[in-house]
Amino acid sequence: MIWQFDILLLTLVVVCGFVSLWIKDLMGAVIVFGAYSFLMCLVWTGMGAVDVAFTEAAVGAGVSTIFFIATVFHTSRTIRYNKWDLSTKFFSSIICILMGFFLMVAIGDFPAWGDALSPVNNNVAKYYLENSMEETKVPNVVTSVLADYRAFDTMFETGVVFVASLVIFTLLLQSDGRKKLMKSAFQKVSFLNVSESLIIRKACGLMVPFMQLFALYVVVHGHYSPGGGFQGGVILGASLILLSMAYDIKKVFARFHMKFMIKSLAVGVLIFAGIGLICLILGGNFLDYSALSKLFPSMGSIKSRYNAMLWVEVGVALTVMSGMFAIYTSLSSNGKFEEGL
């Protein structure tokens, strides 16, 4: 941690935040927001939270920017102001400042940064750091906490992805009356008439297999290095998104259809929860992977934890991949699944 660098980053983060609020062109705001995410990613890295940084880069800066753009593309690019807006802004900024102040008040009460004696470092986290290797044989403590100690949280976080995709998918399937309402409420953006380009297609064709390979690596290698199901899944999803941008959605659908996608969305979470259920049936508690050793006696309880975590990550990756792609296709084609961006 170099404090000058930190302060520079934080200033930039704040500036980005303000700019993205100020800017009237929504597309611009989205881009600035992407920059904001990248900066945050640097901040996380500076703090040593590489896993978080990874996720932030993949999700915050990468995929969510695409989602934003897809949304803007189908709604409106500029904000329309009404006359109350100024006072609303005024009040909301006052509230924000008050909240911020309130949050800052307590900062003096916090333990110093990296304080070895702080409660955080001496309670649960300490246990994880000391025992994770012994109990799970996973060197990356983040993964062992996510996929084993607090696997139940992670299962529901995967569920969040499932729900989000399902909601967006279902909503955009709704009737035409709704679309009319949206069109009247927003200004339509002028349609970008992008010519189909051979170069882009070829380049994407070159990159996608490597991306997917890398994604699989991230999923599998989560036990040892930053990564895991979420990040790998996002990259997998991004590769599909890239393909469908270079060609169109139908091209991808030929391989990976919407119906299949919704199924694989559910299957991903089901893999996770199913492993938990198998543990339960085998006589352990829910998600107690060590019970799996009854099924595969050759693995000890520790080894079965290690392996179960891997499968769990695969489930997460499956859900996240199809989730990302489902959201993108729904948003970019406005629920029609024809062309996309």
């Binding site: 569920g159 709704q174 339960l280």
Partner: protein
């Protein structure tokens, strides 16, 4: 299996909720029975947990360690006499709503019905999880599940539901964010997320500012989620525009579960000593909730739309509970806890009845209720029972919760809260009797009674799977009222520490 009931409560709706999108591709007609089966399974698990719990000492609880990691390291499920009650309420409400909702969902959603059921069950999963969990962060994750599904469920409604959902989404995310910030502050100071451990550690940190900020943010977050008066603006539109089935499920549960979380944190994480003695903000909050009650009631009075009126009643009822807890007297807290269950059923009863009316009549404007008594007598009688409960007429349960609330307010000297409660009861009486009047008198174009128009109204009740749950709920309202004493002595008395 015997000791797995705690997790089975959550797993049944979770698995079926996840399976439904897959199954729906093969056979859409099994979705509804499957959903009901899963909820029955969950009910069975709750029931078994309850029987186990009731055999134990009143103050003890049953714990379940997910992944078999001991409490502060893994996630813990805890059932004690407080949340078993809330669990019962949730599972009963959701079971009845699901039975009720078949036709409504088919009518309102058509092709999307399967996905709707999936969201529906996951929402229930979220609420059950929030209630049963003993881990502050797990609570947040499940809160997110419940919130996200509820956004989806509401957005599937008609008309301007999307705009309403957007408002809800902004407010709801803010609420969840506040909660997360609060939990984060607590984590920084204590290094743990387990509620029991927090309860043990926090007394040493009562003078810490960070803990104060954490507390305030958790409570604020929950206030947003429960639509406590100045933060209520998302609720009326969201609930009145949502699909009927979603409104029936959400209106009784979402806000009540948030109240449960608030009370849980106040009693079992921060301890009553901190909340009532270290902090001295009781009076302010009781005044705020008095304002909330009166404002909610007055808003309700000004509505011409049945569902909207009910949503404002919810806002007022939230004021009851918040105020009751913050009176700081045992009676008030007991009343608030009792009211969580009671209000869940009351709201369910009212929303279901309105759902039936909308199903038959086609809209929910007050004028369209003319002569409804003759047309749908069963629905209307149940609606009345619900209304009486909201007003607080014995022997419905609303009366007894009101009793405790007023008693608590009297003992803590919060006369303004008593006045607010009474005024709101009176306004509720006006509200419901206005409906009775409209429904009873029918069309009245001129001075003379138009008996012919009354005679011409045909008996046109909703299908049995719609009115039967409604009748059951209205009976539950009365039964809850009659067995208040049992509930109090067996459950609530043990939860609230003597002060």
């Amino acid at each position: 299996m015997a000791d797995q009931f705690l997790v089975l409560i959550v797993l049944f709706p979770l698995f079926v909720g996840l399976l439904i999108p897959i199954i729906a591709y093969f056979n859409k007609s099994v979705v509804w029975p499957l959903a009901i089966l899963s909820l029955i399974g969950s009910f069975w698990a709750v029931f078994n947990t309850a029987t186990q719990l009731l055999k134990l000492d009143p103050s003890s609880s049953i714990s379940y360690y997910l992944g078999n990691w001991m409490a502060p390291f893994g996630i813990e499920y805890v059932v004690d006499r407080f949340n078993i009650m809330v669990l019962f309420a949730i599972i009963c409400v959701s079971l009845l709503t699901t039975i009720f909702a078949k036709q409504v969902i088919e009518k309102e959603l058509g092709d999307n019905a399967a996905n709707f059921y999936s969201l529906f069950l996951l929402f229930i999963t979220g609420l059950l999880g929030i209630t049963i969990t003993g881990d502050a962060f797990n609570l947040y994750v499940l809160l997110e599940i419940a919130s996200l599904t509820s956004y989806g469920l509401i957005a599937l409604g008609r008309g301007r539901a999307l705009v309403a959902t957007f408002n809800y989404l902004i407010m709801g995310s803010m609420g969840a964010c506040f909660y997360l910030l609060g939990v984060g502050y607590l984590f920084i100071k204590t290094g743990t997320l387990n509620m029991d451990q927090l309860y043990d550690v926090l007394p040493l940190l009562f003078d810490s500012k960070a803990v104060l900020v954490g507390f305030v943010f958790i409570i604020l977050g929950m206030w947003v989620k429960m639509a406590f008066f100045p933060l209520h603006s998302w609720l009326p539109n969201a609930y009145s525009l949502a699909p009927t089935a979603a409104a029936c499920l959400m209106a009784p549960l979402m806000t009540k579960v948030s109240v449960y979380v608030m009370i849980r944190f106040m009693l079992n994480v921060f301890s009553t000593e901190y909340v009532y003695s270290v902090l001295t903000i009781n009076n302010i909050i009781v005044i705020m909730s008095s304002i909330a009650i009166i404002a909610g009631s007055i808003y309700a009075l000004s509505q011409k739309n049945l569902k909207k009126m009910l949503t404002f009643i919810i806002v007022a009822e939230i004021g009851y509970m918040v105020g009751g807890v913050w009176t700081g007297h045992v009676d008030g807290i007991r009343g608030a806890i009792y009211h969580i269950t009671a209000d869940a059923f009351m709201t369910l009863c009212l929303f279901m009845a309105v759902g039936c009316i909308v199903y038959r009549v086609g809209n929910d404007k007050l004028e369209s209720l003319k002569g409804i008594f003759k047309k749908m007598p069963i629905t209307m009688i149940c609606f009345l029972v619900g209304g009486f409960s909201v007003i607080g007429i014995p022997p419905t349960c609303g009366f007894f919760s009101k009793w405790y609330l007023i008693s608590g307010a009297f003992n803590s000297g919060a006369w303004y809260f008593i006045i607010a409660l009474i005024i709101s009861s009176l306004i509720n009486a006006v509200l419901f009797f206005r409906i009775i009047e409209i429904g009873f008198f029918g069309a009245m174009s001129n001075e003379k009674p138009d008996y012919k128009s009354l005679q011409s109204i045909k008996f046109n009740e909703v299908p049995i799977n719609m009115w039967l749950p409604l009748v059951i709920v209205s009976m539950i309202l009365i039964i809850l009222g009659i067995y208040t004493n049992e509930i109090m002595t067996n459950f609530i008395l043990n939860i609230v520490p003597m002060m």
